[in-house]
């Protein structure tokens, strides 16, 4: 009997959290179009996360492209299809690896910091202080973070795509002996706008997922150091799982 009660308890908690999360998203959209839009605050936050994330985005791109070129060579050389390497590198990066790897890296870099910052604000009563200062925390905390990340991730993915292709180019030309002009021509000829845009749409969705989940985990964290730690872990784990699962459905959409 206790076992069944426990399952019931877990299910009730799960569905109540899901309901709370859906309400949270609906409030985000409600306040997004409210007259209190702190433009300066939004712009400042966008620039902060943009500048601080560039190094990690560049590293993700370059190493992904380089590894992709090497691994593709290992496979394609077995049936003399090495010439397909530029096509595989650019297609895999723009459609798949660019958005997913960037999403996962940004979830670890920015999502965790959003959750920790907001959870700390909650623990130290700064969220209550905002309310007493007539400031809606959706407008002040949630909107800048969600808007900034949703808009920044497509830019990051474009950077990862570009730097990744360059990484593949460096390895292919200097390590595998490809002709440099031919590599770039193959890459540009093969890539269609649809390939690039499918990755960009994924980036928008992943940016929204990371930011909204991280804000939610921070705002509804438990009190104390343990609460801040759990909020950070939950933000990264839930965002990552949602990125990977939604990636499948988005890929089906563009298949």
């Amino acid at each position: 009997m206790k076992f069944i009660e426990r399952i019931g308890e877990v299910l009730i908690k799960l569905f109540s959290n899901l309901g709370k999360f859906i309400l949270f998203i609906s409030f985000f959209f409600k306040y997004l179009f409210s007259p209190k839009f702190y433009f300066k605050n939004n712009l400042q936050y966008f620039l902060t996360i943009f500048i601080s994330s560039i190094p990690i985005v560049a590293l993700t791109g370059i190493f992904s492209g380089m590894v992709l070129a090497l691994q593709s060579y290992t496979g394609f050389s077995r049936f003399s299809a090495e010439s397909a390497i530029p096509n595989i590198v650019v297609l895999t990066l723009t459609r798949e690896l660019g958005p997913v790897l960037t999403g996962l890296m940004i979830s670890a870099r920015v999502g965790s910091s959003i959750a920790a910052e907001i959870a700390t604000m909650r623990v130290t009563e700064q969220i209550d202080a905002l309310k007493t200062l007539n400031t809606n925390y959706y407008n002040y905390l949630v909107t800048p973070r969600v808007l900034s990340l949703t808009l920044a991730l497509p830019i990051f993915v474009t950077l990862v795509d570009f730097i990744g292709v360059m990484g593949g180019y460096i390895v292919s030309v200097h390590r595998l002996g490809f002709n440099d002009n031919l590599y770039l021509l193959n890459t540009i000829d093969f890539l269609s706008l649809g390939d690039y845009l499918s990755g960009i749409l994924k980036a928008f969705v992943f940016g929204f997922i990371i930011s909204i989940v991280s804000c939610y985990c921070g705002l509804f964290s438990d009190k104390g150091a343990f609460g801040v730690g759990s909020a950070t872990t939950n933000a990264v784990v839930i965002s990552s799982i949602l990125i990977l699962s939604s990636n499948y459905f988005l890929t089906e959409l563009f298949f």
Binding site: Y38, T124, A129, Y140
Partner: protein, 233 residues
């Protein structure tokens, strides 16, 4: 502003924190709420401020159930200053966030009122001491000229000398500005010094109330043991 609270109840999940609270906060007076940690004092003032909802009972603000909470202000236990903003931006937060820039003179005047040196105007909260943080938080609470101020353990974490200075300051400010004050504290010395009336909460109900100047003459056993720190036999 006069506030009347009748039969207030509040629970979190199955934990009944406030069982039956009835009290009156008199206009332009300083009301002290005393009680052990976890007895629901902070919950009570957050309910009055409408930051929390309540299960049953009622609250009347000058005889009405609705109130413009813009008339209220709060000094939080640990200041609750925004770490990423400068001291001046913290004090003038409502103007700063709305891109108003002409707050410098008002901030400097408030800093002077609460005994802060103007050299910290552009510093961040992490660069000042605990006592200074309390003063900054008090200046922020006073920035919007409140009619009622809630003070959540204003002397927590301060040494006796700084506690006394903060008490003097609170007393000076609320008398000068004719503000109704509701203070939560464990500190009997602070209660006697800054309060007019007190309420003692234990186990979710008001156990004792009276004049702050007569706190030490209380006949209530629970409150006596709270004052002396001795357990009841």
């Amino acid at each position: 502003m006069k506030i009347e609270i009748k039969n207030l109840k509040k629970s979190f999940n199955e934990n009944l924190v406030l069982k039956n609270i009835s009290l009156t906060i008199e206009k332009n007076k300083s009301t002290i709420i005393l009680g052990q940690s976890g007895c629901g004092k902070s919950v009570l003032i957050k309910i009055i401020y409408q930051l929390f909802s309540f299960d049953s009972g009622f609250i009347l603000y000058d005889g009405k159930s609705e109130v413009d909470i813009d008339k209220f202000s709060m000094l939080f236990q640990y200041g609750a200053l925004f770490d990423s903003l400068k001291i001046s931006e913290n004090i003038a937060f409502t103007d700063f966030i709305n891109n108003k820039t002409n707050y410098e003179r008002k901030v400097l005047s408030l800093m002077n009122d609460v005994g802060l040196d103007k050299s910290i105007f552009n510093r961040f909260p992490s660069e000042i001491s605990g006592g200074m943080k309390k003063r900054v938080a008090l200046a922020r609470a006073l920035y919007k000229n409140p009619k009622l101020i809630f003070l959540d353990e204003p002397t927590t974490g301060l040494d006796p000398i700084n506690s006394d200075k903060i008490n003097e300051l609170i007393l000076k400010v609320i008398r000068k500005r004719k503000i109704t004050a509701v203070t939560i504290t464990h500190d009997i010395k602070s209660a006697i010094k800054t309060g007019d009336h007190y309420y003692f909460i234990d186990k979710g109900i008001i156990q004792d109330k009276g004049d702050c100047k007569k706190i030490l003459k209380t006949k209530n056993k629970l409150f006596k043991s709270f004052i002396t720190g001795a357990s009841i036999k």
